[in-house]
């Protein structure tokens, strides 16, 4: 298992963003769905070792990120695309990707080839020497994805990766996800249910810091059949049905 989360909790003051999440997953594309404020981003940030959990057990790529050396080793094999991608406006796309390749401790001799491969992978070859400040939102997102995959990560965490991409780019990106998922664990947090249906082999749905569904996209779709839940597509109806059930359970408890 590349990702082992056991009873993981994260609090910010009095707010519990993630409440006792347990999740175990190996190679493949894992979709993380949920409404705004469900705790997806906090869960991804903990898995990316950006913030530590308040309590619970976290093991990534067979290592405990609580120790300095294991954490460093995890980070060498990790790719992360945050929801709000910060960038240096004066950097070119190639310089941006190279910067993070170096920060990931890649051997300097391997960096130029890896940078070129990552940029080509996301279809930004013709803009490799363009300054980031001149790129559109979708292109910036692709530059962000390029830095995430430059080290050929074994664990890839993508927070809203398709935000800002046009339909053609999203289709291409799903293909890239499927390709990456053959050798790595890819966790994708998204609002877009169709991305999950097209690219993910496993899906979890979060609500108020908890995982209220974990299964395959087909199983999520089945939850919506005959439920009368809102949604234009079968998977959306499954999403709505699970969410409604979780909310009614929470309301009943209260």
């Amino acid at each position: 298992m590349n990702v082992e989360l056991t009873d993981l909790t994260r609090r910010f003051g009095r707010t519990t963003a993630v409440a006792g999440v347990s999740l175990h997953t190996g190679p493949g594309v894992f979709g993380l769905l949920g409404p705004n404020g469900a705790g997806k981003t906090t869960l991804l940030r903990m898995t990316a070792t950006v913030i530590p959990p308040t309590s619970g057990r976290l093991r990534l790529l067979g290592r405990d990120p609580g120790g300095y050396e294991p954490r460093r080793e995890i980070r060498r094999r990790l790719g992360y695309l945050p929801q709000n991608l910060g960038y240096y406006p004066g950097f070119t796309v190639a310089e941006f990707v190279e910067y993070f390749a170096l920060l990931k401790d890649m051997p300097p001799g391997r960096v130029p080839q890896a940078v070129a491969a990552a940029i080509e992978h996301v279809g930004l070859g013709d803009r490799a020497r363009a300054r980031l400040r001149t790129l559109s939102g979708g292109m910036l997102r692709r530059a962000g994805i390029a830095q995430a995959i430059v080290n050929e990560p074994e664990l890839l965490l993508l927070d809203e990766p398709t935000a800002g991409l046009d339909p053609e780019q999203r289709v291409a990106f799903r293909g890239l996800l499927r390709e990456l998922g053959q050798r790595a664990t890819v966790i994708v947090s998204t609002h877009l249910v169709e991305d999950v249906g097209a690219a993910c082999s496993e899906v979890a749905l979060m609500e108020q810091g908890r995982i209220v569904f974990h299964g395959t996209p087909a199983e999520l779709t089945a939850r919506g059949e005959g439920s009368g839940a809102a949604g234009d597509a079968p998977l959306e109806r499954g999403y709505s049905a699970v969410l409604a059930a979780a909310r009614s359970t929470t309301a009943a408890r209260a």
Binding site: A48, T49, V50, P52, P53, G56, R57, L58, R59, D64, P65, G66, G67, Y68, R71, R72, E73, R75, R76, L78, Y80, P82, N84, L85, G86, Y87, Y88, P89, T92, A94, E95, E98, Y99, F100, L102, L103, K104, D105, P108, P112, Q113, V115, A116, A117, I119, E120, G125, A128, R129, Q147
Partner: protein
């Protein structure tokens, strides 16, 4: 089988293109980055150092301009303004060395193998060293006495420590700058009130140990604030 019977060897054009692109897009590091990479034994750390906001050309020019104004004021009035300005300028530079809001890609940097604490440490050291060098040059240019020329280095350490600790704890460079500058102004004014001289805080040798102790405490706060809590599993 003769060689003429064999078809042309397969050429992976994609691979060839990647090789070409890698060479064309490759960035050549400057001499400073190469030297830093050798010294730090980490090209990533050297690259992170080169992107320090308060080491960029614009910032350095602004620092030099403030100190040059201090030199002119010192030469014009006889009051040693450079030693009084230098700690506050350095504190601002240190606060703007690393952190959220300052580093556009700070969130991403936190997930990198090169330790963010090392990045902070290296950047702070280099910013401090550069500000000390600029301050010393300005002091020398202003013709200040030797005691005044070097007397501000220790208080500068304390002001920088305060700025860094405040910036790290508050996760805001602006808070760091405000704390460092305010702390230094209060110290200067308190020294003037107690001894009747504006330069008392940089010439009184009895203050050296308190300055160093304060700077050490600030350093410990920074180390504590940038630790990664253990025992997550």
């Amino acid at each position: 089988m003769s060689s003429t019977d064999a078809g042309p060897p397969d050429v992976d054009l994609g691979r060839v293109w990647l090789g070409v692109a890698a060479q064309v897009w490759r960035r050549e590091p400057g001499w400073a980055e190469r030297a830093a990479g050798r010294l730090l034994r980490s090209p990533g750390l050297a690259r992170a150092l080169m992107t320090t906001p308060s080491l960029l050309l614009g910032w350095l020019i602004a620092t030099a301009a403030v100190l040059a104004a201090g030199v002119l004021a010192t030469l014009g009035t006889g009051t040693p303004y450079v030693p009084l300005l230098a700690p506050a300028v350095a504190a601002a530079g240190i606060a703007y060395a690393y952190g959220p809001g300052i580093d556009p890609a700070w969130e991403l940097s936190l997930s990198m193998a090169v330790s963010d604490r090392m990045v902070l440490l290296v950047r702070a050291l280099v910013v401090f060293g550069l500000n000390a060098a600029l301050g010393l040059a300005a002091s020398a240019a202003s013709g200040a006495a030797a005691a005044v020329t070097f007397g501000w280095l220790v208080p500068m350490t304390a002001a920088c420590g305060l700025a860094l600790a405040a910036a790290t704890l508050a996760r805001s460079a602006n808070v760091g700058v405000a704390a460092g500058a305010a702390g230094w102004v209060i110290t200067v004014l308190a020294g003037r009130a107690a001894a009747g001289r504006l330069t008392a805080v940089i010439t009184d040798s009895a203050l050296i140990l308190p300055y160093l102790a304060f700077a050490a405490c600030c350093g410990l706060i920074v180390l504590y604030a940038t630790r990664i809590p253990r025992g997550t599993s």
